[in-house]
């Protein structure tokens, strides 16, 4: 799983302003300790796992021969395409569901149903109906991010403070103004949370999809490595997947913070 949980902030000082250096130092200590333990455990070959130097040198090889870059590129291209399509469709659909009760009642059963199906379970159907090229993978990512974002968007719309809407009304706002100037900004924090969850689930789904059906990508590389008992490559892939997932999540978190500076945080 990619890191979509909030890390580092729990148990820290209540005010999150400024950089928390002692926390950062502890994070680093933990990291070093982890690698040390890994090293110690694997040094004698006792656990059957590759020690850090071996993984590091495989990292260097895969970077040098360009294979890592190719894999990253094809995985990222898939996840971003599917993710963007999913979010772009989810936001209007979520708004319509939040705004019109009829639309909500019509669409909600489908959402609840598809949410219960792990996106990966759609893969066989997608491959049969869409062929084995990029389409089924992108479709599955699309579905994963769409479902996460649409629910967040419409929850955001229906939880907009009624008093705020009334305040706009008595100032003369009509439905369109209320929608554009109240509903959209007020639900932005919800939408962004949904988008972040969507990206996390898209990334997780993608890697798994590549394990099943792909000729490129980080998941595919791992699957190949498994055939040859190539543990260092599996490690390289896992670490890359984790780092990329974390990086994307952090980027969205920064965007989220930027767009919602007005929120009272307690």
């Amino acid at each position: 799983m990619s890191g979509s949980k909030t890390t580092g902030s729990s148990g820290g000082p209540p005010e999150g302003s400024g950089v928390d250096y002692s926390g950062l130092a502890l994070n680093l200590c933990g990291l070093v300790a982890g690698i040390a333990i890994w090293w110690v455990l694997t040094a004698g070959g006792a656990v059957g796992l590759p020690p850090p130097p071996q993984v590091a040198s495989r990292f260097a090889d895969l970077i040098a021969n360009g294979q890592l870059a190719t894999d990253i590129m094809s995985s990222l291209a898939r996840v971003l395409t599917g993710f963007l399509l999913g979010v772009i469709l989810a936001i209007p659909v979520g708004f319509v569901m939040g705004w019109y009760k009829v639309a909500r009642s019509l669409i909600e059963p489908y959402l609840q149903f598809f949410r219960m199906i792990p996106p990966l379970a759609i893969i066989p159907l997608a491959i049969v109906t869409m062929g084995i090229d990029e389409t089924p993978k992108i479709f599955v990512i699309f579905l994963a991010s769409f479902l996460a974002s649409v629910v967040a968007t419409y929850q955001g719309v229906i939880s907009v403070d009624k008093t705020m809407i009334n305040a706009a009304r008595v100032l003369g706002a009509g439905d369109l103004t209320i929608f554009l100037r109240v509903i959209i900004p007020a639900s932005t924090p919800f939408i962004l949370v949904g988008v972040r969850i969507g990206l996390g689930s898209a990334w997780a789904t993608l890697v798994a999809a590549e394990l099943i059906a792909a000729q490129t990508g980080l998941g595919f590389r791992m699957q190949q490595a498994q055939l040859y008992y190539d543990l260092p490559t599996i490690f390289v892939s896992l670490i890359t997947i984790g780092i990329l997932g974390l990086a994307m999540d952090r980027i969205l978190l920064v965007i989220e913070r930027r767009l919602t500076v007005w929120q009272e945080r307690v």
Binding site: M164, N166, L171, G172, P185, A186
Partner: protein, 256 residues
């Protein structure tokens, strides 16, 4: 022939029911009340007696089940810019600065940027938020938020202010300050004010008349003329005359 005096706001036999599962619940039962132009009326009563319901009907946010509310002789069909409203929870738009909040209604009115800014400036200064014009609401205290909400309502120049427990969430000191500021503005600009409160002292201090309501069903119980002169001062607040009216209102509210 002398001109016929039309009350500013008329509640004419206003009833409001809410349909619950098994029975219709009467939140407001045949309220009839005239409020004169420029009058300051406060409404007190136990919680759930239909104060907010009555105010929301006058604001046009809620439809009466029966009866009508007339403003300037015309039936209320929906919200209108001549009726400004202030809520207990401020209801500021948290993503907008103080200035942008105050300009919100002006923008809807279609005022140009320069004029918007000029009007907003005036009301922001009036409520004493000049130094905070570009601050976000989250950085303001409760009292400052409510002053911003008041400036936002004033900016569209309503002739009526409908206020639903506007100072209810504030500490006692801030409340007294805002009461005096409100009276000060009111005595200069003479808007008609309908002000809900659960604080008997506040009701008496502000009003020409105190409307006392009773619950189950929500209804008018008694109208008490305050009859104290304006400007209301600390001296008045501590006077025997104030005390005796306050006691009358208290009796009406708590011994129903």
């Amino acid at each position: 022939m002398p001109p016929k005096i039309v009350p500013k706001i008329v509640f004419d036999n206003v009833t409001r029911r809410f349909d619950l599962k098994d029975n219709a619940f009467i939140a407001l039962d045949r309220l009839s009340l005239d409020i004169a132009d420029g009058e300051f009326v406060t409404v007190v009563g136990p919680s759930g007696c239909g104060k907010s319901t009555a105010l929301n009907i006058a604001a046009g946010l809620l439809k009466p089940s029966e009866g009508t509310v007339l403003v300037d002789g015309k039936a209320v069909e929906g919200p209108g810019p001549e009726r400004g409203m202030i809520f207990q929870q401020y209801a500021l738009f948290p993503w907008l600065t103080v200035r942008q909040n105050v300009e919100f209604g002006l923008r809807i009115k279609g005022e140009g940027a320069a004029r918007r800014r000029q009007i907003a400036e005036r009301f922001i200064d009036l409520v004493g938020l000049g130094d905070f014009a570009d601050a976000l609401p989250k950085t303001l205290s409760g009292g400052m938020k409510q002053r911003c909400a008041i400036a936002r309502a004033y900016a569209v120049d309503p002739s009526i202010l409908l206020m639903d427990e506007p100072f209810g969430a504030l500490d006692a000191l801030t409340r007294v300050q805002l009461q005096d500021q409100l009276l000060d503005t009111w005595s200069r600009e003479r808007r008609t004010v309908m002000f809900i409160t659960h604080d008997v002292d506040e009701a008496v201090y502000l009003a020409n008349r105190v409307i006392v309501m009773a619950a189950r069903p929500g209804r008018l119980k008694e109208i008490i003329e305050v009859g104290l002169p304006y400007p209301r001062t600390e001296e008045i607040r501590l006077s025997a005359a104030f005390m005796s009216i306050r006691n009358r209102v208290w009796q009406a509210v708590y011994h129903q």
